[in-house]
């Protein structure tokens, strides 16, 4: 197979891939190609028909498809090249990409690759929830796809495990479609999703949320007949004699998202065990030069607006890589201290402003997120409330940076 040469191949036509493609095209890098496996662009947003997208980016609230369409329209107007119904089978370390579509197998040789594959949902099997294996156990995203994209309703009596955003949004969606949502159970002692979803999706519909609870058994040999729920202690261990059985025909799982990095790992990209995404520098370049990552494949976001912005910052780095052939070294590492779960990027050059994204491990109130270099605070953000559900972002200005010395990011 002869390889077709491309300056940049973008894997994934969701919000990250679209934003990166548009930004690259606008910057003059027009020999790009977005490869999307679905038959339309837009990624997971296509099934997110609720509103609340776009406040950061457009200053108005849009539905997922509306938000995606703005980018699709822009890409079309510009003429950003893309392929749909095309799956990437393999990426090699020397940046060859093998694709398949009904039109055939193709090979592309890229100068730079953008990983924008998004994430997938953690499953029952990955959690190891005990019990039988009846029909009626769905991850929240699958249920959302069945209802919103496939016109198929699957539930009458529902229990939801996990208070992630999709779980809460599905609690509302299922209620609106006539199902009865008994309750949402959350293993953590605090909600996993955004406060606004807690209010708009659960409280407004009188759906109870039980914290520090988990599903300890699934019942039914054909269709689900019920679940057993138990309380857990601070160490997430089940507290004996707290079992309660809830009859239901549907269990929705909203128990976490995992960046989908099979292609990146296979070609030699190193992952950060905390984010399950690549280690990246301030240009969103992974440790494999010329490959970049942004969006949910890099770190799971709570707002798509931040995904778009992250992909646009990535595009700046890719453009520089294409035009100059390399990017500045980033020898300064960013160390997350114990109260911070991770940061993006994980390394910087010290030569330019950097947008830092991070999450706290547990909720804090009236705190300051600080970035220290050689003992000195070089950036900080005061927060009334810092929640694990909300990604925190702020800029670290170049003028405060020193040329060497790792950064320490902490909560004070």
């Amino acid at each position: 197979m002869k390889c077709i040469e491309k300056e940049v191949v973008i894997i994934g036509g969701g919000p990250a891939g679209l934003a990166a493609g548009i930004a690259l095209y606008r910057s003059g890098i027009t020999d790009v190609l977005i490869v999307e496996r679905e038959d339309t662009l837009g990624g997971i947003l296509r099934q997110c028909i609720h509103d609340g997208f776009g406040m950061e980016r457009f200053g108005e609230t849009l539905s997922g498809p509306e938000y995606a369409q703005r980018f699709v329209d822009e890409a079309m107007q510009l003429g950003v090249p893309y392929l749909t119904n095309t799956t990437v089978l393999e990426v090699s370390g020397d940046k060859q990409i093998t694709t398949v579509s009904p039109a055939g197998m193709r090979c592309y040789q890229a100068k730079a690759i953008v990983f924008a594959m998004g994430c997938r949902e953690r499953t029952r099997g990955a959690l190891g929830i005990p019990g039988e294996r009846p029909a009626g156990v769905f991850t929240a995203g699958v249920a959302q796809s069945y209802i919103n994209l496939n016109n198929k309703m699957m539930a009458k009596e529902v229990v939801i495990l996990g208070s992630g955003d999709i779980g809460m949004i599905m609690a509302r969606r299922l209620t609106l479609e006539g199902a009865h949502v008994n309750a949402v159970f959350e293993t953590q002692p605090y909600p996993s999703g955004l406060p606004r979803n807690l209010q708009q999706c659960l409280n407004d519909y009188q759906i109870p949320l039980y914290l520090s609870h988990t599903v300890t058994a699934i019942h039914g040999d054909s269709r689900l007949t019920g679940v057993t729920v138990s309380r857990v202690d601070e160490a997430f261990q089940v507290i004996p004699d707290t079992e309660q059985r809830y009859p239901c025909d549907t269990l929705i799982l909203s128990v976490g998202l995992i960046p989908e990095n099979e292609l990146s790992v296979a070609c030699g990209v190193l992952l950060d065990s905390r984010t399950k995404g690549a280690f990246v520098d301030e240009n969103y370049q992974t440790e494999l030069p010329g490959t970049f990552a942004a969006g949910n494949v890099l770190q799971v976001h709570d707002l798509v607006d931040f995904v778009s912005q992250e992909a646009e910052r990535l595009a700046t780095g890719v453009e520089q890589y294409i035009t100059s052939g390399s990017l500045p070294q980033c020898p300064i590492f960013i160390r997350a201290q114990s109260k911070i779960s991770h940061t993006i990027p994980q390394s910087v050059s010290g030569t330019r402003d950097v947008v830092l994204s991070l999450r706290v491990r547990r909720p804090h109130s009236n705190c300051t997120i600080t970035v220290r270099q050689n003992g000195r605070v070089i950036a900080s953000k005061k927060m009334k409330k810092a929640l694990p559900a909300e990604m925190i972002q702020f800029t670290v200005p170049q003028k405060n940076m020193e040329k060497c010395g790792d950064w320490q990011v902490g909560v004070e």
């Binding site: 197979m1 009904p102 499953t123 099997g125 990955a126 496939n150």
Partner: protein
């Protein structure tokens, strides 16, 4: 209306389907009554997927004899029926002098049974084979292997069906009586009659045996739990690794699958077979498996779990609870029957030798005329995954549906799914299509493909939304359209 057969087989697991396939070599009206919606929904699909060597059974038993026979012919069988199979060998790993002596006894028994390729490997050689294994030496059985238990059972059944055997699904037998030399079988989907009845009902063998008026064999269940690990673990385990077996139990082991996953298990818990099988997995069992298998192969991490399951083996036991051999009888107390009791491990390995034995018992009383049209070859669905890029390109060129990936984890294409949906047995449940293609079996467990699979089954089979089953009767996935 009764449906008439010459021979009815009760139970379409691997043994029942092997019998059906071997009987399809002859001119007879053969039917299979299967209570589930597919052929490998119970013990045949819920096991380690190992082709056993035949060393673990008392010399002179049917288990030993048929296991060795089944092992030795399996390269040919797998090729003929298009079943994924690898003769990987298998290790029984020990550390102490006592364990070495036990393994020496196992080896001697194996040699007496006719098992092939049994030899000891010492420390260095052992760790060259499986670097992470914990142990000082091992008994290697080179002739052991791994196979896809779903596809083996399906292949036997499909080959039988294509040679004229009729499968009836959802046909749980509730009563049997005999009048004028003909058996009448009452099932939940209607009445059947036949001159011959073969009981290969697996977990239900005791109940069917009693319905035939044969002795009430004491059959207990041995329930084993398994955990399936992500394919990232596959390269660490090139062959099955077992501990030193006791007399009655092989111990928790780790087994690679033909598709590159690793399965951990089983434990063994005695359960009653009086009620419907309970395939529930408990936390305690999963924790026990991870703990005990880690002592043998410390590569088990919860982050790699993708699924868990249980299987139940029907064990025929005597009054003292001692496990007996396979019981395969043409008992004159019930004329024109072949009764199979306690078809537990190694029945997967031994299925075809068992089937031929059953045919011989039947042929002793009945003239069987060879079926000249019999074709022993079953063509498998050609998979896209695992082919060379050249072959993949050719597949897409010949059939554009090979260019559309439906299952991203296992790289299953639309072409394979369409072929599977139109399988010769007419199975159209989600799990049935999963077993035939591996869609939904990967690390995302159907997160990406299941909505597409559901739509494809409905469209290809022109089915009503509310009739789509996940696996068993009553497992309907959908309640209604969201928008009419």
């Amino acid at each position: 209306m009764e449906q008439e057969y010459d021979i009815l087989i009760v139970g379409g697991g691997v043994v029942g389907s092997a019998i059906a396939r071997e009987l399809s070599r002859y001119c007879a009206r053969v039917g299979v009554l299967e209570k589930n919606r597919d052929v490998c929904m119970e013990t045949s699909g819920r096991n380690s997927g190992v082709l056993h060597g035949g060393f673990a059974y008392d010399t002179g038993t049917l288990k030993a004899r048929f296991c060795v026979e089944g092992n030795q012919e399996f390269d040919h069988v797998a090729a003929e029926l298009g079943v994924p199979f690898q003769r990987t060998g298998k290790l029984l790993v020990g550390s102490t002098q006592k364990e070495r002596e036990q393994l020496q006894r196992t080896r001697e028994q194996g040699i007496q049974n006719g098992a092939q390729g049994l030899c000891f490997v010492e420390d260095e050689a052992l760790h060259a084979m499986v670097p992470q294994v914990v142990g000082k030496f091992a008994l290697l059985c080179r002739s052991s292997g791994i196979l896809d238990p779903f596809l083996y059972t399906i292949a036997l059944a499909e080959n039988a069906a294509l040679n004229g055997v009729k499968y009836h699904f959802g046909a749980e037998v509730t009563a049997i009586h005999r009048a004028d030399g003909v058996y009448h079988l009452q099932t939940v989907v209607g009445k059947f009659s036949s001159r011959w009845v073969i009981n290969s009902a697996g977990l239900g063998c005791g109940a069917i045996s009693a319905m035939l008026g044969l002795p009430e064999y004491k059959v207990v269940g041995s329930k084993g739990t398994y955990i399936i690990l992500d394919k990232c673990t596959g390269p660490l385990l090139p062959l099955p690794v077992y501990p030193v077996p006791s007399n009655t139990y092989m111990g928790v082991h780790v087994t690679p699958t033909v598709d590159g996953n690793v399965i951990v298990g089983p434990d063994a818990e005695t359960v009653s077979l009086a009620d419907c099988p309970d395939y529930g997995v408990s936390q305690a069992h999963m924790d026990f498996l991870a703990q005990s298998a880690s002592a043998l192969w410390p590569c088990i991490h919860k982050a790699d779990y993708i699924r868990n399951y249980c299987g139940i083996l029907p064990k025929w036991v005597d009054e003292a609870g001692v496990i007996q051999d396979f019981k395969i009888e043409a008992n004159p107390a019930a004329p024109n029957t072949v009764n199979l009791v306690g078809m537990e491990s190694p029945a997967l390995t031994a299925a075809l030798p068992i089937a031929r034995y059953v045919v011989r018992l039947l042929a002793a009383q009945e003239t069987l005329v060879p079926n000249d049209a019999f074709n022993p070859v079953r063509k498998p669905i050609v998979r896209f995954a695992g082919q060379t890029k050249g072959k993949q390109a050719q597949l897409v060129e010949e059939n554009a549906n090979y260019g559309e990936l439906i299952c991203r984890c296992e790289k299953v294409t639309k072409a394979e799914l369409i072929e599977a949906i139109h399988n010769p047995l007419g199975v159209d449940t989600m799990v049935g299509i999963k077993y035939r293609t591996r869609a939904m079996m990967g690390r995302c467990q159907g997160g990406y493909c299941q909505t597409r699979m559901a739509e494809m089954i409905l469209a290809e089979k022109n089915k009503a939304l509310t009739d789509l089953l996940y696996a068993r009767d009553g497992s309907n996935l959908f309640t209604e359209r969201v928008k009419k």
